[in-house]
Amino acid sequence: MKKLRIILATLAGKLLIFAGRVAGKKGSYTPGVIAMKIYPDILKHLSRQVREEIVFVCGTNGKTTTNNLLCSLLEASGKKVVCNKVGANMLAGVACSFIESASVFGNLDADYASIECDEASLRHAVKHMRADKVVITNLFRDQLDRYGEIEDTIGLLNEAFDKVGDTTLILNGDDPMSATFGIGRNAVYYGINENCSEDVKETNEGRFCTVCGADIKYNYYHYSQLGDWYCSGCDFKRPYIDYSADNIDLDGKLAFDINGEVRLDLNYRGFYNIYNVLAAYAAYDMLGLKSDNINKVLGAYKPQIGRMEPFMVGGKLTVLNLAKNPAGFNQAIATLAADKRTKDVLIAINDCPSDGMDISWLWDVDFEKLGEVGVKSIYASGERKHDTALRLKYAGFENVETVDITADTLRRIAGGNGEVCYLLVNYTVLFATQNILKTISDKG
């Protein structure tokens, strides 16, 4: 009877995932919900079959990239991996990724699982499966109507860690919020050991020590609350960094050393990607795996949908990037600033529940900085295009055009006077925009 329900749950899940794909859906949620209704222990049953370890990746920004980098490293080492690649990261989405990897009889052939998990869902996920390693990318202010204040997110993650039993945390040591989880727990840390960024005006989360409440001070500072920090009131400070990046070169690429042992030379951009790579490398190393091809594997990694994803539209490079909170937007703007070409820019903001319905955070983004990065023309789009246009007006742009994202408007924007076109969009705008870009991008 139990066996039958396992098969039914797996089969139903697989069929619904397939039906969803046919209907054009990327992530999966409902199939997982239904499979878990048919057999509530389906995730327990499947995850138990993972032969080696299960790694969770949590945090505000960089989850999907970090998790996929780790998955690439594992697969390049010849391992079979369960991975929720497109970032369906609530419990039901996690269930979908296991169901997809399983046979219809509910058998799973996997060495590792590399699972991106929403910060609020980890406490549910660990009831169903072990978490041998948990990576935290960072904790930034994000969608307050969904997650509440950052202190609430810390509480939810602590709840998960208290349930999980034996685990090793892999934490961003440059982040005073994330480092909190390491207190009294088994943890290793990664971080950037070099002062290499200009000062960015940003909403600074975590300015107060999570231990004693005094001000957090910095020897140097990267962005948001990340840097070489110490508490002015107690002895809580940036921990010893087990996996560090040095000798950083950001000039048109991303090159750095890890622990002075491995030199990475990657062709994707964005300072924040150093953290994603470090986190994935740390997890890989902590799993006891070694490779001589790290640089090659990470270099061949193709960024996921909308992570500075390039398209050619009418001969013009058009870059699609997901940005969904102030930290993400400010990093995207920093990446635009590092690109010296002139540019046409579209900002698109939706306010669906999965985007966060509250768009107040637009005023925490340093859009003023966009005025200094060679913007030729600027467009506002999404459900909240009027709010976005108004915010951009205050950032000093006089002629902000509001548009809806269609093939025609994207062609027109890409055909502007800039040398390159950037589309910065939040979550629910992303997939539709990518679909249009695929249809209008230059072939061959």
Partner: protein, 238 residues
């Protein structure tokens, strides 16, 4: 002509893009040839109420709100005198709660600055969402976003408006408080950018107090009105 705006404690209160309010007040002054001075006060600073025309208090996390509330209690006699004397205050989100007699959290009752004769109880069900209210004070709608566990009893004070969409300060149809030139509301963060009529009301009260009369020339509000009307149209039709 110059208007001085005191931004209270953004080192503590910066939860939801509150700076949009300061930017709006400044823009609407400067566009009319009026000088705007923004004085940013951190928690230990003394406030120069004498030379202040508008006080802005935003929202923060629970711990930061407590720190701010304790500080406001220390200066409450000056703050009360400023308000009683017609000084302009805009308080949003947690700023609304700390101006009252007390506010409750899940675990404590915190005595407030007592500028307003209101009290705030705690409820574990949060009121979260877009809101539209109709305000007799300014003769039009005010749009915004609310996210609060507090339920405010505004006593005999006048509400800022009637809730057309959303919950309001206690779920009973009213939102916010107007007392003399103090305006307090749960509509948080960047309240003023897309409520230009409210912004001008606040400015005109400040200018009248300092200079006797206020005559604010119209400025280009195309984008402001588009954002306002979009919210009204979308959330009222639901």
């Amino acid at each position: 002509m110059k208007i001085t705006i005191a931004h209270l404690y953004p080192d503590m209160l910066n939860l939801y893009g509150d700076s949009g309010n300061i930017a709006t007040l400044k823009h609407r002054l400067v566009s009319r040839g009026i000088d705007a001075e923004i004085k940013t006060y951190v928690i230990e600073d003394d406030i120069d109420f004498e030379n202040t025309d508008i006080v802005f208090i935003g929202g923060g996390g629970e711990r930061e709100q407590l720190t701010v509330c304790n500080r406001l209690k220390e200066i409450s006699s000056d703050l009360k005198a400023y308000a009683e004397n017609g000084g302009v205050i805009l308080a949003v989100c947690g700023g609304f709660e700390v101006l009252g007699k007390y506010y409750k959290t899940a675990s404590a009752t915190v005595e407030g600055a007592g500028v307003l004769d209101i009290t705030t109880d705690y409820c574990d069900k949060k009121f979260v969402g877009n809101a539209v209210i109709e305000s007799d004070l300014i003769g039009t709608t005010i749009v915004g976003f609310e996210n609060h566990s507090g339920r405010v009893d505004i006593g005999t004070h006048t509400p800022l408006g009637k809730v057309l969409c959303g919950f309001g300060h206690n779920g009973k149809g009213a939102e916010g408080v107007v007392y003399k030139n103090v305006i307090a509301t749960y509509l948080h963060g960047p309240l003023l950018p897309k409520n230009p009529v409210l912004a001008d009301y606040i400015l005109s009260k400040a200018i009248e107090k300092r200079y006797g009369t206020a005559d604010l020339a119209p400025i280009d509000d195309t984008l402001e009105i588009a954002a306002h009307d979009y919210a009204v149209g979308r959330f009222l039709s639901k």
